[in-house]
Amino acid sequence: MRRFLSLTLMCLLLLGITVTAQAQTDNENSTNDDAAALELLEALDVESYAAKGEAITAILQSDDERARDWLQALLDGRLQRTDDGRFVLVLENRGRDWPVADVLTGEALGEMSRRELDRIGINNNLRNQLRSAIAVVDLYSPSVERRLTSAERLLGEVDADLVPTLNDLIEQEEDDQVRYRLTQAVAIYRAEEGEMAGVEALDGSLHPRSRVALSRAANSDDPVVANAAAASLAGIEQQLKINRGLETLYFGLSLGSVLVLAAIGLAITFGVMGVINMAHGELIMLGAYTTWAMQQLLPGQPGLALVLSIPAGFMVSALAGIAIERGVIQFLKGRPLETLLATFGVSLILQQLVRTVISPQNRTVITPEWMSGSLVVNDALSLTLNRMFVLGFALVVFAGLMLIMRRTRLGLEVRAVTQNRAMARSMGIRATRVDIMTFALGSGVAGLAGVALSQLTNVGPNLGQNYIIDSFMVVVFGGVGNLWGTLVAGLSLGVINQVLEPWAGAVLAKIIVLVFIILFIQKRPRGLFPQKGRAAEG
């Protein structure tokens, strides 16, 4: 009964609004308007809720363009009356004194004590009525965005009385997306009523409400409709499965790209140079903190700061890497186990340094606007933008490293020194310099990983520690000394992890992956892509 009442009311409202929308342009006599508006508002301040309902209808039927704001304020309890009878909008109802504005002119009236104000109360019935009214009001808004949100809210909420109005709107609508949503909203209603047209229109739609409508239609008395609905439902399920698969793949690739970024620097220092750098994770952390520091230096410009921290993060970590190489690693040539221990010591010192100098708490790094939000592919699949950026970034970094190793003099020298140090030196290559440059390169890439990671996870002193074991796993799994192996290993481990997660849980998935790698190394100690020929001898 209540629903029926509100429907009738809404229908009336709609009629009124159509008029409003058409009358919006000719707004000549504002004083007259204000007088009429005041009358409309006065009608709200009555005891009986039924009378209030009528007053709301009257407001909607009026051709006043401020109607939406009034109704929203009424719904939020912000439409209030002062002791001297003026109507005001409370801008913020917190604390003792509230800032208010005049309802008619919108002019700010300063702060008023809450005791001077009197709220216009509503009950649940009215609240529902207001909500549906506001939803439909928005469909006439000149803003496409507002129309779209409003249309999306209508999915599954349409009833018989709304259909003709919506059909009119569909004809008038210029924006494709809004029209699509409105058509869908009507189709959902039709399908729920067991009409063939609705079922046909919903075929292939991935919205959850469409599925609800179709499954209702599948139980319809008409066997033709029921069969058609069941068939398209099966098709939708299939589609959804594919979309879910794509989503898992996307998350897997995203996780994989993080692993690749974290591990690719290690693939240079450990894989190519054979130096175990347990402080690699802390070099990543330094990159992340550089991003944070850049954003502190350039307040209000998170995007610019992020772009600038790409070279800055590289430099900071590369310099730290050079310091580690010169200060520790050069004394431990040919003693990999000692190198492991010493660099682990360095990692402890770096962690504690950050804790002492900056803070043991996590720092927040702002995601710039152009990186937040997501790319909506369809109703069942949307891809977050920041992950997409990180994925792209990982591929760019990888390509850059490949170019350096394959196409530059440095890359050539690095490979020469790795394969036969003595021979390379006698050919005039300054091996020590190559060591420093290579280590700086690997460390700098760790810094880049940190910049990217700052967009996905918390930036804290433990950031690096969380990635060091994973990074080593990726390098070892891919095959030491092989950059392609690192890429393939990182991406596939990411995907495997995400595929396992739904049925094993996040922690167990991680454990399974670790155990898998441990067993894999037993089977193929040299990884996925073992080095062959001379490079393998070193």
């Binding site: 010591g345 074991i469 790698i517």
Partner: protein, 384 residues
């Protein structure tokens, strides 16, 4: 070290003690045990020479760490395997002991359930998981202290050594092993108390864990276990088996070519070492009163390696010295200036590996040689 092929029963008994350092070490260890007992029991509490129950407990903890360090030195020093996962064996031994101690609580827990430990009642489990059965019996639990880590080491080592995973790779996968176990033990579903681990122990073999006498008893038991473990390790390294191990460490391929099945030697020593680590964990748990998954953390395992490196690899007694020195320093630092501890630990890692590759034992050796040989050695040799 005599290298004769004599094989009488008498020789088996004397060989482990043949080296001077072993004799000194065992005498010092036993004297320390006796002295601490004397100062704790016979000297009245007000006397400055009195050693309180807290200190006895602390020493007991150090000694269990020392036993763990000896186990690591056995594989790292004599076999060349840098295990970054020995904390896992230690923790598993500790969990086996913890499970026994949990079952000993009986119905005195917060929830008063006669069979189920408190955390299971809290998770509203209605029966004991299968792997908890038998742990109410001391003999079974104590056997598990050795068997559970031994079995893990056997399976892991069998797979690893058979496929000739050595060097850094082995280090990294042992680290992955302990990391995976840490994640697993953090889960409540594993049935080991999750995050909080096992705690709130009451008594061991009928002795109340909170009395001073039990604490002294545990301290002495740990000291004796350390002495026995030490002798066992000496017996291994002075045997032919030990010599093959050292040969493997120095030239694995050559040893293989000489006809030795290297992986079998590696596996045997690795399993013995894991069992010793498990024993150390089992002695550690009743003294600190808790076991939780943090013992599995990769950092702890690396720290053990640092003790050995500081004390001096391949000396066994060096491992004991290192473990006690580092942990004593840790107790002091974390008490006085907790922030500085990680700096100190990190600095120690770098310092020891770069400047003191033979550890404290190497330093002692050097000093001794200097005293015997009056001609001063050139400075270079000190760091060589």
């Amino acid at each position: 070290m005599s290298l004769t092929t004599q094989s009488s029963a008498n020789f088996w008994l004397t060989r482990p003690f043949s080296e001077r350092s072993t004799q000194i070490f065992l005498v010092v260890l036993l004297a320390t045990l006796a002295l601490v007992t004397l100062l704790h029991v016979a000297v009245p509490a007000g006397n400055p020479l009195h050693i309180g129950a807290y200190t006895v407990n602390l020493f007991g903890k150090y000694l269990s760490y020392a036993l763990l360090a000896v186990a690591v030195d056995l594989v790292w020093g004599y076999l060349g395997i840098l295990s970054l996962g020995h904390g896992a064996f230690f923790a598993i031994g500790g969990y086996a002991m913890g499970m026994y101690l949990m079952r000993q609580i009986g119905d005195r827990g917060t929830y008063g359930d006669p069979v189920l430990p408190d955390f299971m009642v809290f998770l509203s489990w209605d029966s004991l998981p299968w792997f908890w059965h038998g742990f109410d019996m001391a003999w079974f639990a104590f056997a598990m202290v050795l068997l559970a880590p031994g079995l893990l080491a056997l399976v892991f080592g069998f797979l690893a050594f058979r496929s000739r995973v050595t060097g850094v790779y082995l280090s990294i996968i042992t680290q992955a092993l302990t990391f995976a176990l840490m994640l697993a033990f953090f889960r409540n579903e594993m049935g080991f108390g999750g995050n909080n681990g096992l705690t709130d122990f009451r008594e061991i073999l009928g002795f109340d864990l909170r009395t001073d006498a039990t604490r002294l008893g545990l301290f002495l038991a740990t000291g004796i276990a350390l002495a026995l473990g030490f002798i066992l390790c000496r017996a291994i390294v002075t045997s032919k088996l030990g010599r093959v191990s050292v040969a493997t460490r120095d030239a694995e391929a050559r040893t293989r070519f000489l006809g030795y099945r290297v992986e079998r030697f590696q596996l045997f020593v690795f399993v013995v070492s894991a069992m010793l680590a498990g024993l150390a964990g089992a002695l550690y748990v009743p003294q600190v009163g808790i076991i939780n998954p943090s013992e599995f953390s990769p950092i702890f395992s690396i720290e053990i390696v640092l003790w050995v490196a500081l004390g001096g690899r391949a000396t066994l007694y060096g491992a004991v010295i290192g473990a006690i020195l580092v942990n004593y320093a840790k107790t002091i630092f974390t008490g006085v200036m907790p922030d500085a501890w990680l700096f100190a630990l990190g600095g120690l890692f770098v310092f020891v590996t770069v400047f003191l590759p033979k550890g404290v034992a190497g330093l002692l050796e050097h000093l001794k040689r200097r005293r015997h040989d009056p001609t001063p050695t050139p400075d270079k040799e000190a760091t060589a």
